[in-house]
Structure formats: C-alpha cells, structure tokens
C-alpha cells in the first residue's frame, strides 16, 4: 500500500500546487480608476520628434484606419505603426481582455460603457480641453460620454472619439425605382408604403435585408419606423440607460406593428431569417431588390459596384414635413487606460478630424462625414455619387437634431440575445409586436440592473 501511495501522493501535491491559484476570488486585477490625471494638460500634446511606434488594433475589411495611419506617418515620419486586425465580432469579444492585459495605443471599440466600468479606457476630458474638441457640435461626442461607472451614457466624461460619423437610412436601386415609377424618394411613410406595394405588384422584391444567424438586421427598419412614429429623444434615453427609460411605448408599438405589416405583406425576401449581411449586400448589388436599410459605410463600395445607380434617402416621417431622424454613430476609437503612447494617439485622433488631407481620405475611403468643428473644410463629392447623398443626409439630420444611437447598442448582449431572436420570431409569425417590445424591455431591465 505505502509503496503505491508515495508517488501518487507526489502527483497529488503537483496537482494541488497547480490548482492553488484557484483559491482566491477571481477578478480585481484590472486597472484602478484614474485620479483625473489627464485633466490637467496645459498644452495640446504631440507625437514629438523622437521615433515612436504606436500599437493599433483595427477592424479587418475596412481600409480607412490604415489609410489614415499611412498618411499620418507621411506627415510625421517619426511615427510608425504596429497594427493588429480582427473581425469586429472578435474585437468585441477580446476588447476587455486586450485592454486589460496588453492595451493598444489606439483601438477600434465596440459598445464602450462596460469598458469604462472596468476602467479600461482613458478619460479624454483633458485632451478634449487641450485640443478644443469640446467646441465641436455636442451631438458628435454625445454617444461617447459616460457617467461614472459607464452609466448612463450620453453625458459626463469623454472616453472615445470617432474617425468619422456614420449615418443610416434607405438605399434604393435607381433602375428598379424607375421601373415602378418612383421618380423621387418618398417624402412620407405613406409614400414609402405605396412604393413597397408597387414593387411587390411588379414582381420586384421590395426590401432586401439581413436577419439571419445572430444578426437581426430587421432592427434597422424597426428603429427607422420608431423614429417615423415618435421623437428620437426617448429612444436615445433608452439606449443610454437613463433611469426609467423604456422601449415599450405606444409609438414604438405602432412602429413594430408597421414592421409586422411589412413582413406579412411579403415585402422582405421569404428567406430573410437565413440571410446574413454579406448575402444582403450581394443581392442588392445584383439588383435583386428595390430598397435596403443600411448605413453610409457602404457608400464608397456602392459607388464602385453600382456607379450612378444607387440612391439614398433618410427614413421619411409619418407626417409630411415632419422631422427626420436616423441612426448615426461615430466610428469609435479609444485609447487604453494603460496605453504607453496615449498623448501621441490623442494627437492622431485630433489630426484625423482637423487635417485637410485626413478629411479627404475620411470621405473618399470611409464614405461618411468627418468629425470636427462645424465650420471645418468639407471635401467635395460628385453629385451623382451616393456618397454625396449620404453626406447631404448627414447635414439634414444635424439640422433636425435627429441623430440616434442604434437600439442594438443599449447593452452588450441586447442585440444577439434579445432583438435578434425576437425579430426572427416576428418574421416567423411566432411573436406579436406587443410581446416583442415587452420581452426586449424585460431582458434590458435584467441586463442593466444585473450589471
């Protein structure tokens, strides 16, 4: 007996030794809150003249950030870049761990409030003051401001900046529009309904949209309908987790019911629950549908693939001449709270918004409005390009004060675990508009209170 026990005992000791690390409660190794260190900058920081290598963590498939870094190095030869790229979904999952363990100087960010809660992002109030970002139109930075602990969003300290300001609405195929006799974009919701019905009767798929897998793309038309039936303010409050905010309101119910009517009328493709984003894009570019609810990050792409054949309009209001609203969000980039070259990264972000060449690249490559002061230089775009239409729409939204964040960004899990399954059930006739909003609100309450 003893003969056997000794080596086995040794093995047990080894095993226990390896397990010893498990004894303490997990967590708590993250960064501690800053003591307002960055709020006392006397002059705007720069990248200096010494050689410096900035580490970046960007999104695969979008050339804008890399093009900007290349141009930045051209203008500031002492700055070089060490860039890692991943799919956005991967960045979303990795963000907390990467920012805690190996913080990049500049990083493409998903929903930020949970990162702020864990003190993973640099408070940029000091930079905002030094560079004068606080004098830009307030709506540009609203979504990136957060109260202590990340909630509510929409006010408080600045924790990220955008490379540009994207804008969503309705793209349409001009050839198919001509076929159904739609000579100008619909001015009211009723006119849009009319165009949809005409397309259906003419054998044209009225709307190509994605709603498959874990990405419920019907959230795009749903939120647009919400903004047609009601003001965007309460929707933003809900997204920003303001106390007492609810998505389950009478005007949102009308919007959800309207969406259900579209589904029942067969305005979406029959297999919409199996269509992913890429399939939707290839169908729209292939001329397989009249309308597509999407954002101006595709403007440059559509100008290349369907030159002169794509139009864009903002979701029309329910009443003639009513105010328009759209989901509009900065292409969010932030600086890790433990980043080594934070000052240089901040001066890069400022350069993106203020340098003439950078703003040109932002529009040409990114297709969206640059951030920055209201009177800043605005690149010219040929009239027949859809990029021109989306840029003009951005100005309209600014005028109507109709910018909303996306309802999918209210919490980290609300899109994949709540909106998407509920909208897929709505398409399949397994969910009613009332219950859909009630369910999403219940999930939201649990998630906001649980965190």
């Amino acid at each position: 007996m003893a003969r056997r026990v000794r080596p086995a005992g040794a093995a047990l000791v080894i095993a226990m030794g390896t397990l010893a690390a498990a004894c303490a409660a997990p967590g708590g190794d993250g960064p501690q809150p800053e003591a307002g260190a960055s709020s006392s900058l006397s002059t705007a920081p720069t990248c200096g003249t010494e050689p410096v290598t900035l580490s970046g963590y960007f999104e695969t498939g979008f050339p804008l950030p890399k093009d900007l870094t290349t141009e930045f190095t051209k203008q500031h030869p002492n700055v070089t870049w060490d860039i890692r790229e991943d799919q956005f979904a991967v960045i979303t999952q990795n963000a907390p761990r990467v920012l805690a363990d190996n913080p990049p100087d500049l990083m493409r960010l998903p929903q930020v409030s949970e990162l702020v809660k864990d003190n993973l992002l640099k408070n940029m109030d000091g930079y905002a003051k030094a560079f004068g970002w606080d004098r830009w139109p307030a709506s540009q930075l609203e979504q990136l401001r957060m109260g202590p602990g990340g909630r509510p969003r929409g006010e408080g300290s600045l924790y990220a900046l955008g490379l540009n300001l994207s804008m969503t609405g309705v793209f349409y195929n001009k050839d198919l529009a001509a076929k159904i006799g739609m000579s100008s974009p619909p001015a009211t919701l009723a006119e849009l309904d009319d165009a949809l019905a005409k397309a259906k009767n003419a054998g044209v798929t009225p709307i190509v949209q994605f709603n498959g897998g874990a990405t419920g793309g019907l959230a795009f038309p749903l939120q647009n309908l919400m903004a047609s039936y009601g003001p965007p303010g309460p929707i933003n409050d809900w997204i920003f987790n303001k106390p007492g905010a609810s998505i389950d309101t009478p005007s949102n119910l009308k919007a959800a019911q309207h969406l259900e009517r579209w589904v029942k009328a067969g305005y979406f493709q029959k297999d919409v629950n199996a269509v992913d984003y890429a399939t939707m894009m290839s169908r729209f570019i292939g001329g397989k549908g009249l309308f597509m609810f999407n954002g101006d990050w595709e403007s440059g792409n559509l100008d290349k693939q369907l030159p002169g054949k794509t139009g864009f309009f903002l979701m029309p209001p329910a009443e003639q001449g009513g105010k328009r609203a759209a989901m509009s969000a900065p292409l969010t980039f932030g600086i890790g709270s433990r980043a080594k070259n934070a000052d240089c990264a901040a001066s890069f972000l400022n350069w993106v918004a203020t340098d003439k060449k950078a703003r040109d690249i932002g529009v040409e490559v990114g297709g969206s409005r640059p951030m920055g002061p209201a009177d800043a230089y605005m690149p010219q775009v040929a009239e027949d390009k859809v990029t021109a239409a989306t840029l003009a729409a951005g100005a309209d939204i600014a005028k109507d004060d109709g910018a909303m964040d996306f309802i999918a960004n209210a919490t980290g899990a609300i899109y994949a675990k709540s909106w998407t399954p509920q909208l897929q059930k709505l398409v399949a006739g397994q969910q009613t508009p009332q219950e859909l909003l009630k369910q999403v609100q219940a999930d939201y309450t649990r998630q906001v209170e649980g965190n």
Binding site: M1, A2, R3, R4, R6, P7, A10, A11, I14, A15, T18, L19, A21, A22, A25, P26, G27, G28, D29, G30, T92, Q93, P96, R97, A100, E114, K117, D118, L120, G212, G213, A214, T215, Q269, K270, D271, V272, N273, A274, V275, G412, A413, A416, K417, T420, P421, Q422, Q424, K425, V427, A428, Q430, Q431, Q447, G450, N451
Partner: protein, 306 residues
Amino acid sequence: MARSRPAPRGRAAAGRARTTRGLAGWLFVLPALVFYAVFVLRPIVLTAQYSLYEWDGIGPSSWVGLANYGRVFTDPALFDSLVNAVKLIVFFSAIPVLLGLAVAAMIRRIAASRLALAARTVIFLPQVIPLVAAGIAWSWLLSSTGVVNQFLRLLGLGAVTRAWLGDFATALPAVGLIGAWVLLGLCTLLLLAGMSKIDPALYEAARLDGAGAWREFVSITVPSLRQEIAVCVTVTVIAALASFDIIYISTQGGPGNATMVPGLQIYYLAFSERAVGMASALAMVLMVLVIACALPIQWFTRDGNR
C-alpha cells in the same frame, strides 16, 4: 502499514527494487501529468470556482453561491439549449450508428470489388474536412437557392423548398443532418474494422443452419460489434452534447434560439454577455451531463455485463 512491521530481508529488497521501478514509472508519466494538471484539471477546477461567482471577467467578482446553477434550470433560454443538445443526439448518434451498421455490412459484402474502396473513401471523406468548411458548404447547399432546393424544384417539389437553416421548424434537423453526414464516416469505418475481426466460421455455421442475411446480421454481426458500437455511440453522443462549430458556422443558434446548444450558449454568455459565472455554471452542468451519458454506455457494453 507495511513499514510498521519489519519485513524479511528478501522481501524488503524486492520491495525496494519495485519501488525504484515504480518511481521511474512515475517519472516517465510526470510530463504528461503536469500537462494534464495544468491544461485539464486546473481549468475544470477554475470553472467550478467561477461558477459560484458573478463576474464580468475583468472587474471584481461577487460570491453568489449556487444561484447561477439555479438559473441554468429555470431560465428557459438556458434550459432549452440543453434540450436541443439532447434532441441532437438523434441526428449525431442514432442516424450515424444505425446507418453506419447498414453501410458497413453492405461494403463488407462487396469487399473485394473496387466499389468498396471508393465507397469507403467517399463515406470517410467528411471526417477529413474541417467542421468549419463542412458548415460553410452545407449552409450553401441548404440555402434558399442552394442545391437541395434546386433538386427539389427539379422533382416538382417547389412547394416544400425553403431556407432550411432559417426556418424555425427545420433549422435543428438541418443542423443535425450536417452532423450526421460528418459522423457517418467515422462510425462506418470503426464498424467495418470491427467486422473484419469476426471469425468467418461463425457465418459459415449460421449459413449451414439455414440463416439468411438478416439473421446473420442480427445474430452474429451486431453482437460481435458490441465494443465498436459502444465506441461509436460514446463518441457521437459526446459530439452531440458538446456540439459547437457546425452550429456556430451555419446558424449561430438562430433563428430565434431554435438551434441554440449549450456549447454556443456558454460562448455567448462568456464573451458577449460577459457573464463568466453563468457560463461556467452551464459548462459544469454540460460536463456532468456528458459524463452521465457516456459512463452508462461504457458500463452497459462492457464484456462482463452480457
């Protein structure tokens, strides 16, 4: 016990020799043991520990006891994923094993011909293809304009065509079909190898007694393959319960959670909801479920239990 009493000299010497040999044996095992402890035992213990906390993976955690386990069994979204995994056993396990038996028996009958070699290769091929590639290929085949629907239209069955992976009623069976396709090859090959070990004299004797092909199959082939069938069922049941890649690629759990399985749910909980405690609790439940399914299969098919 042995040491407390002085032992006769010869026995002690023999004992020492054996001890040295034993130590040497443990020394050889040591690297693997350390590896196992660090990469298998430690994660299991850590998961068990995390499952008792509410933790977002970075910030401070708070002790919640067994509350996470309570939610696994009361939250329909989590419990339904366990139910889906059990349903998948039909597709991942029952179909490949039964069909595999039939296919193997058939291939064995034509063993000498070139056709048998070709059939073996074709059926085993899915095992060689990465699951991600299989998932992508099948999501094309099963899409609304895919080959499956084209074929159905050709047969005049246009009315039943649909986006198989996007339809609430067909998504889970469609995903199961992909799994069955992948696992059929493994089962067939295992069973075929087992069949080659059966003494041909048994078949000859049965035939002399007037047994037909069916009787031979039921009375000789299947009982002799007890061990191989046990391996097939164990491997495929675990594959069903722990399924992740095929579903992640083809449906991501959609539409509306119709194909949500524990593996995928754990991943979403940990990395998108950042509920590490909940994810760990579900992972522990899944581990217990897998062991609870695999152990009885092993036990029932052991030689001594006939």
